[in-house]
């Protein structure tokens, strides 16, 4: 399995989903998982699988060569086409020598390992390429039956592994660039995504919403695409920390990256409407992102900054703390392939309001669903949940029960079915 992040080093839902799914798979018979991330920190939970960090793989010893566009792979033990180099000087020295066409140069550290940041920084495209190179090596060194790549960052790695091993490739679409960027899709990202979908033997998507995008926008054939909904990890007891709510007001929370995809601006507008109607409430926008500064200014413009708070990025216990303080959770996502956070909120006995433009809306019954742009309806729902205790009581109780049924084990079973069909295809 190729992923990009893994708890506790996560920036969003992707790592959480990978972890949950892997744990679910480990509970099934006859499945063993090797999970590859660009950078292993060493403190990841490895009870359910073997975790490999691409940053720990040495390049120099390996001799890999394969011919492009050929189904069967021929190995030439003669010379390596990946040549590690340490610094700029060495690169030019190497470059001036003679090498067969198609030889790849790669910058490594002294022990011939490639450094990965494992984040979403400026060198992202280069990191993705390097990751795919390492994937070739890993694919040679390990035995496995199927390749599973999570999201576009890992598609090239999946494809590389498939080319080396000839094993079937399943890609898991947690999000597409249409979700992340709206209409302004990055053509390079799109081409990576599309190539992944074309090379894949099977495609798993996290909701029917995403399934439609994959079929319509990426031209994947419908029989290849299966929807497997995400689930949520039950809260462990240790995380039931003491409530430390210092205000006696009701709290309405937005929790997620503050980016266009998540619709933070609609939350602020709705907050403004509600605050005009009732006092004694506070709104919290938890998270960080490229729209945060703009949101801070917007709240100041509306003159609600004394009732509208920003916490910055929250992690671990702080998230639970936040849910414990929360009376209503809102996810106004403009385009959300799935959205695990509402499930976590429901686990913590918080009534949720979600947008119809989210995958999780397809499976949730006990949540208020609105259109992300309909700030009046959003305000209405917030007001109702705060004003009428019976309503929120119902949502708390029914929601908790409902969310208990979304188990990773069930998702894993469905994934296993996809694996089987992929293997039968060959």
């Amino acid at each position: 399995m190729f992923g990009w992040e893994f708890p506790p080093h996560i920036s969003g839902g992707l790592g959480t989903a990978c972890y949950g799914l892997t744990k679910g798979l480990a509970k099934l018979k006859n499945i063993e998982v090797i999970f590859v991330v660009p950078k292993a920190f060493g403190d990841e939970d490895q009870t359910a699988m073997k975790l490999i960090g691409a940053n720990n793989i040495s390049v120099s010893k390996k001799e890999i060569q394969f011919e492009e566009n050929q189904k069967k792979i021929d190995y030439f033990e003669v010379n390596s086409q990946i040549i590690p180099y340490v610094g700029e000087d060495e690169f030019w020295k190497l470059k001036s020598g003679k090498y067969p066409k198609g030889t790849k140069f790669i910058e490594t550290d002294k022990s011939c390992k490639i450094d990965f940041s494992g984040t979403y920084g400026t060198n992202l495209l280069q990191e993705i390429k390097n990751y795919a190179l390492i994937a070739e090596i890993i694919a040679r060194d390990n035995t496995f039956d199927i390749i599973h790549a999570h999201d576009w960052l890992a598609y090239p790695a999946g494809i590389a592994a498939k080319k080396v091993s000839g094993k079937p490739l399943v890609i898991h679409v947690h999000a597409t660039d249409f979700d992340r960027s709206g209409k302004d899709v990055n053509p390079r990202v799109y081409s990576i995504e599309r190539e992944g979908m074309e090379m894949a033997d099977k495609i798993i998507v996290v909701s029917n919403l995403t399934r439609n995008i994959v079929i319509e926008k990426y031209g994947a054939s419908p029989e290849k695409v299966t929807t497997v909904y995400n689930a949520v990890e039950p809260i462990s007891i240790s995380e039931n920390t003491k409530l430390r709510k210092g205000v006696d007001e009701k709290i309405v929370t937005f929790l997620g990256r503050i980016t266009m995809q998540k619709g933070p601006e609609y939350f602020i507008e709705a907050a403004n409407i509600v605050l005009k109607k009732m006092g004694n409430i506070r709104f919290v926008m938890a998270g960080s992102g490229d729209m945060m500064d703009a949101m801070v200014v917007r709240a100041a413009e509306l003159g609600i900054s004394d009732k509208f708070h920003f916490t910055g990025f929250l992690q671990g216990d702080d998230v639970f703390q936040m849910f414990k303080m929360t009376d209503v959770f809102v996810m106004p996502s403009v385009s959300e392939p799935f959205g695990i956070v509402p499930l976590e909120a429901m686990q913590a006995n918080v009534p949720v309001i979600i947008s119809n433009q989210s995958g999780v809306a397809e499976i949730l019954k006990h949540a208020i669903k609105i259109d992300f742009w309909d700030t009046l309806a959003m305000a209405d729902a917030i007001y109702g949940l705060l004003k009428y205790p019976s309503l929120s009581k119902h949502f708390k109780k029914a929601g908790k029960k409902e969310v208990g049924n979304f188990k990773w084990k069930n998702s894993a079973k469905r994934v296993k079915k996809v694996y089987k069909s992929a293997l039968n295809k060959l």
Partner: protein, 442 residues
């Protein structure tokens, strides 16, 4: 004889610690003691103590001919008390020489002059009282926070009994006129206005150690020549600096202390120049004209306006939300809350929220504890939220009562109106009936 008027601003804010949303209602201590103490100790060691020592030496040596004036904010005094009591002592020693005048200012170095007359007056009184306690001196010249001044602020200051005010000799105000004369307020001519000579002041505080400056190095002789060579009709040169310029902004190694030691000596020996405190300047010199400042000015940045503190939406919001609490603070007697209230008003908090530094860098960044203006704003609003919760428990529900009172007033007005209209209606009906009756009769 031309007077040289030296004035120094001494101020340190109580910086807030990182105050998170989760702290609201749980923790009512807002201050970063570590940062406040280290910064205060550092500045005291590098700047306040050595400069005070030097000034004391000058006062001794020049036998009362050396004059200087200070405005020390209440918060700086509180911080000296906490972290560097020896600084207060050295100021007291200076005060005893008789060469020093202490000016009035707002206790918190606040922007209250722009918002509310009552709070402003209270802040000034509090400061004067503190200065009297420490230095036995009752100020009669005023210096507003960051040299903020407008005609209206001047008029209020005159009403409060002050004889003069210090401000910036801003180019867009003075135009062709020179700052080197005494002016008067445009509304109340009894208030004298001293305008800062920003060129010569900034030569010391900003350009002194700048090796790219065409006049580098600035020797005491050269500087005195500039003071002297000016149009001989000019009567006063106002050198207003922030005190940290000595030893902090201009480090000791730049030779700033040697400079400060020598140039007063040369001035005293010069028969065309002498030192004077602001009070002496206004007693000795006749004002030459009124200066009209309809919109507030300050000594900050190129624009010399308020945009460093109240330039963007965040700053305005924080400022408005803070002073909205005014009526409730009037009824609050809790000493802790009043202390926090004073600390919350410090102009520095609003300065940290400035988005101007994207273009107008370095000065804004000095001692700014926040990575971005957005962080500064979020933090301040969190603190303010907690403060409001605490205030609520002392002055409960007052906002609502106010609102109810306002509504009652509206209802009463309506009722009066209704009664009046009813009376009108009866009169009109009566008139009609009488008309009909008359018609019947005819």
């Amino acid at each position: 004889m031309k007077s040289i008027c030296l004035f120094f601003q001494v101020h340190q804010p109580f910086r807030h610690r990182g105050y998170r949303f989760f702290d609201i209602g749980n923790d009512n201590y807002y201050y970063d003691d570590y940062a406040n103490e280290t910064i205060m100790r550092e500045v005291a060691q590098k700047s306040y103590l050595p400069t005070n020592k030097l000034l004391l030496k000058l006062a001794d040596r020049l036998e009362g001919k050396f004059k200087v004036s200070f405005s020390i904010t209440g918060l700086a005094l509180e911080q000296f008390g906490l972290y560097a009591p020896e600084v207060i002592e050295s100021f007291q020693k200076l005060a005893k020489t008789g060469c020093v005048e202490f000016l009035s200012e707002t206790y918190s170095h606040s922007l209250s002059s722009l918002k509310d007359k009552d709070i402003f007056e209270k802040q000034v009184q509090l400061h004067d009282q503190r200065i009297f306690e420490l230095f036995g001196h009752k100020p009669n010249v005023f210096r507003n926070t960051e040299m903020i001044y407008s005609d209206e602020i001047g008029a209020q200051i005159a009403d409060m009994g002050y004889k003069a005010i210090l401000t910036e000799g801003a180019k867009h105000i003075l135009g062709w006129k020179s700052p080197n004369f005494v002016y008067v307020n445009a509304i109340n001519p009894r208030l004298k206005v001293l305008m800062r000579n920003f060129k010569l002041s900034d030569d010391i505080s900003f350009r002194f150690s700048n090796t790219n400056w065409s006049e580098y190095p600035l020797t005491p002789e050269k500087f005195v020549r500039w003071l002297e060579n000016k149009n001989s009709k000019e009567e006063v040169v106002n050198l207003f600096l922030s005190y940290e310029s000595f030893g902090e902004r201009q480090v000791k190694e730049s030779g700033i202390f040697d400079f400060l030691e020598k140039f007063p000596q040369i001035i005293i020996e010069d028969n065309k120049l002498k030192f004077a405190t602001p009070s002496e300047v206004i007693d000795e010199l006749q004002p030459i004209s009124a200066v009209s400042v309809p919109h507030p000015i300050s000594w900050a940045d190129e624009e010399r306006d308020l945009t460093a503190w109240l330039g963007n939406e965040m700053q305005k919001e924080a400022f408005d939300k803070l002073y909205k609490l005014k009526h409730r603070m009037e009824k609050c007697t809790d000493p802790k809350l009043n202390k926090d209230w004073n600390y919350l008003q410090v102009s520095d908090h609003f300065y940290y929220m400035s988005t101007k530094f994207f273009s107008d860098g370095d000065v804004h960044q000095s001692f700014n504890p926040f990575d971005s203006p957005y962080d500064a704003f979020i933090n301040y609003m969190n603190v303010l939220s907690d403060f409001k919760i605490r205030l609520n428990s002392f002055v409960p529900e007052n906002e609502i009562e106010h609102e109810i009172a306002a509504l009652h007033k509206i209802i009463d007005e309506k009722e009066v109106k209704i009664r009046k209209l009813e009376a009108d209606l009866i009169r009109v009906r009566k008139g009609k009936r009488e008309n009909l009756r008359q018609r019947k009769i005819t």
